[in-house]
């Protein structure tokens, strides 16, 4: 019944919520509330939520900023994320609010702004895409998002435009009381266009947060979307990311999610390969310790022939942490010449760390090349001994092996400066040093 307080909140403040929202997000609120009331939150008996701790976290009474009061914070003061060598267009989102910034923009007619602004400036585009992948989803967290989301970001790259600099979105959680952020984002990359995104998740206050971000991404014919995420948040962060991607013919989508530190995180990624020639790569590198929970649920739908999907998720679990990987790849009837590979490799450094892996392939076509593999184990003892006989101490040998383990995931990141930065942060993290960017005051 943890959802009830949020349904009540919605009903009580419905008018205020709608008045302060992007109008396009208001449609379907009532339906979502009704669905949630009828079905409730999933229990741990529900297949897709078997190990998910987030339902319980909703017991807490989080504040929701329905009136959209601006939080008194200057993101530039608290967050000086200078990834060396990366000249990015940086945008701040504090909780679920968009902060205007001063840099000149993305060029070539590409736009990054709030949904509220977008529906005024680009009503046709917003109208054509928003909710198309998420409306009607029978899922409690989708329903909660649809019931409460008031705004989000909008990234639009027009036909043929290649955005030169990466778009960096910095999500900062900032509040004096326990707080829930809900956002619905929209990414539209038109035919032949290309853009790289880096999304960073941070927390700056020692309260509990719940974040429910739902992102729809539409990748046009021959277009490329590179989407990298990096989480470095504290133990009391409950982070739910839902990403829905629809790819047109010959398009490319690459995701790489790096979890350096977190509380409880669930990433749901759903990719629709709708036309021939589309390629998708999903990668993840999750490093957890303490009682952290890192979860990736993926669903790749091969709806058309001649599409390629490649998944590589790796976990390093220390302490009593818990990792979940559930990857489902569905090759629909007629999706011939599909190439799909799914790989999940995990290292448990202690006896108390747990990994739950569920690789699933469903194939309804007969001329395809598909494979999956999942392994969970400890560090290679023979390699450890070999290195020690060369004078490399145990701790250092362990470090070399762990860094080697992470290498192929980090290599999925398509641009050098960020790849180097991630390598450094991963090494710092594994050495037990604070893994966030220099000068950044966010706390763990």
């Amino acid at each position: 019944m943890n959802e009830k307080q949020y349904i009540d909140l919605y009903r009580e403040y419905q008018e205020l919520i709608e008045r302060n929202s992007a109008v396009c997000l208001n449609r379907g609120r009532a339906d979502a509330a009704a669905w949630l009331e009828r079905h409730g939150l999933p229990t741990r008996r529900h297949e897709d939520y078997l190990y998910c701790p987030l339902m319980k976290e909703l017991e807490r009474d989080y504040g929701v900023n329905v009136a959209r009061v601006k939080f008194p914070v200057n993101p530039h003061d608290v967050f000086k994320c200078n990834v060396p060598g990366i000249h990015a267009n940086v945008y701040f989102i504090v909780n679920d609010q968009f902060y205007a910034n001063t840099h000149p923009g993305l060029g070539g007619g590409a736009v990054f702004c709030s949904m509220k602004t977008a529906e005024e400036r680009f009503p046709e585009i917003v109208g054509r895409y928003v909710g198309k992948l998420t409306d009607g989803k029978e899922d409690a967290f989708v329903a909660m998002n649809r019931m409460l989301a008031q705004d989000g970001y909008f990234l639009y790259v027009p036909k043929g435009v290649k955005v030169e600099l990466p778009v960096q979105v910095v999500n900062i959680m900032r509040s004096d009381v326990d707080y829930m952020a809900t956002a619905h984002n929209l990414i539209v990359v038109e035919d032949g266009a290309e853009v790289t995104m880096l999304v960073c998740d941070h927390t700056i206050d020692r309260v509990s947060f719940f974040s429910n971000r739902m992102t729809e991404a539409y990748v046009g014919r021959g277009a490329q979307l590179h989407y990298y995420t990096m989480e470095s948040s504290h133990d009391s962060m409950n982070n739910l990311n839902q990403l829905y991607v629809k790819q047109a013919g010959d398009s490319g989508f690459t995701m790489c999610t790096v979890g350096l530190h977190n509380g409880k995180t669930r990433n749901y990624t759903e990719v629709h390969l709708d036309e021939s020639g589309a390629e998708t790569t999903l990668g993840g590198m999750l490093i957890s310790d303490g009682v952290q929970h890192s979860e990736n649920q993926t669903l790749i739908l091969h709806n058309a022939p001649h599409c390629t999907s490649n998944e590589l998720f790796k976990y390093i679990l220390d302490g009593e942490s818990e990792g979940v990987f559930a990857g489902r790849t569905v090759v629909k009837e007629g999706a011939q010449k599909t190439v799909a590979q799914q790989t999940n490799r995990n290292i448990c450094l202690t006896r108390e760390a747990h990994m739950w892996a569920k690789p699933q392939l469903e194939i309804y076509a007969d001329d395809v090349k598909c494979g999956h593999g999942a392994t969970t184990g400890q560090l290679d003892e023979q390699a450890m001994f070999y290195m020690r006989t060369r004078g490399i101490g145990e701790a250092e040998a362990r470090m070399l092996l762990l860094l080697a383990f992470t290498a192929d995931v980090v290599d999925l990141v398509g641009f050098e400066a960020l790849r180097e930065r991630i390598r450094t942060l991963v090494e710092k993290r594994l050495r037990g040093e604070a893994a966030h960017c220099e000068g950044c005051r966010t706390v763990r």
Binding site: D380, Q382, A383, F385, Y386, M387, R388, T389, R390, G391, I392, G393, E394, E396, L400, L401, L403, A404, F405, A407, D408
Partner: protein, 250 residues
């Protein structure tokens, strides 16, 4: 430098070494031969501190230090090196990174500053020539995808980099063709000095054509049962191990 006294060791409760004695002095080359299962590889494993083996009795001192009390890494830093019979592949760890870490850990142990990147690369270049190690191999992950001969050459390359006082060559000749054998032996001979010593463990005599031993020991049932000059190796080659088994078997 090395003094092994009455060494007993077991693995999974099975005793393999049963009272082994051996003394090695600087400048010497000792060959240890013996039939399969005599304990040759157990000896090298115990000397390098492989945790799979348990020493139940006896002592090993290296320049007066109790070797058995040291961790594998400290044994290496004290100057013991083993060339593995089966070198381990470590995907994702580059040779350069691996060797730089090893060399600098040795230097730290001796109280020296780490080598700069350029000093290190210069050192690597020099030592690579010694064993004719291909540049391409040096840029790859440790032993990954190396052929048998390349792996053994890589072992001798590492030996050249770490400049050990005592090197143990465990069946270094196994799986090598004659060219690779010559290159590996050449490398070992070039590294030989009056201050260091080698223990060459081998089943066959042919390696000893290239690396000439001062002493040949026959290991059988976990003990050294016979010691002689280099000619003993030839005799073993000719007569096999059956006469040893007859003479010392139960």
């Amino acid at each position: 430098m090395l003094e092994i006294k009455n060494l007993h060791a077991e693995i999974n409760g099975k005793e393999i070494l049963r009272g082994l004695d051996l003394t090695v002095k600087p400048g010497e080359v000792h060959a240890i031969m013996g039939p399969n299962g005599a304990g040759k590889s157990t000896l090298s494993s115990v000397l390098t501190g492989n945790p799979a083996f348990t020493v139940t009795e006896g002592s090993v001192t290296f320049y007066g230090k109790d070797l058995l009390a040291l961790s594998p890494e400290d044994r290496s830093r004290e100057g013991i090196f083993m060339s593995f019979q089966y070198p381990v592949e470590i995907p994702g760890v580059s040779m350069v990174n691996f060797m730089r870490t090893a060399v600098n850990e040795h230097r730290k142990y001796k109280g020296l500053e780490p080598l700069s990147a350029s000093e290190f690369l210069k050192m690597m270049r020099q030592k690579k020539e010694l064993v004719e190690l291909d540049n391409k191999l040096a840029n790859r992950s440790v032993n990954e995808g190396f052929s048998g001969g390349e792996k053994k050459r890589n072992e001798i390359f590492q030996m050249a980099m770490l400049e050990p006082r005592l090197s143990i060559l465990d069946e270094t000749d196994s799986g090598l063709d004659i060219d690779a054998l010559r290159i590996v032996a050449h490398g070992v001979n070039r590294l030989k000095s009056a201050d260091n010593a080698s223990i060459v463990i081998t089943h066959y005599q042919r390696l000893l054509d290239y690396i000439v031993p001062d002493f040949v020991h026959v290991l059988y049932k976990g003990r050294i049962v016979k010691t002689g000059p280099k000619e003993l190796a030839l005799e073993l080659e000719e007569r096999g191990y059956d006469w040893i088994k007859k003479e010392f078997g139960e």
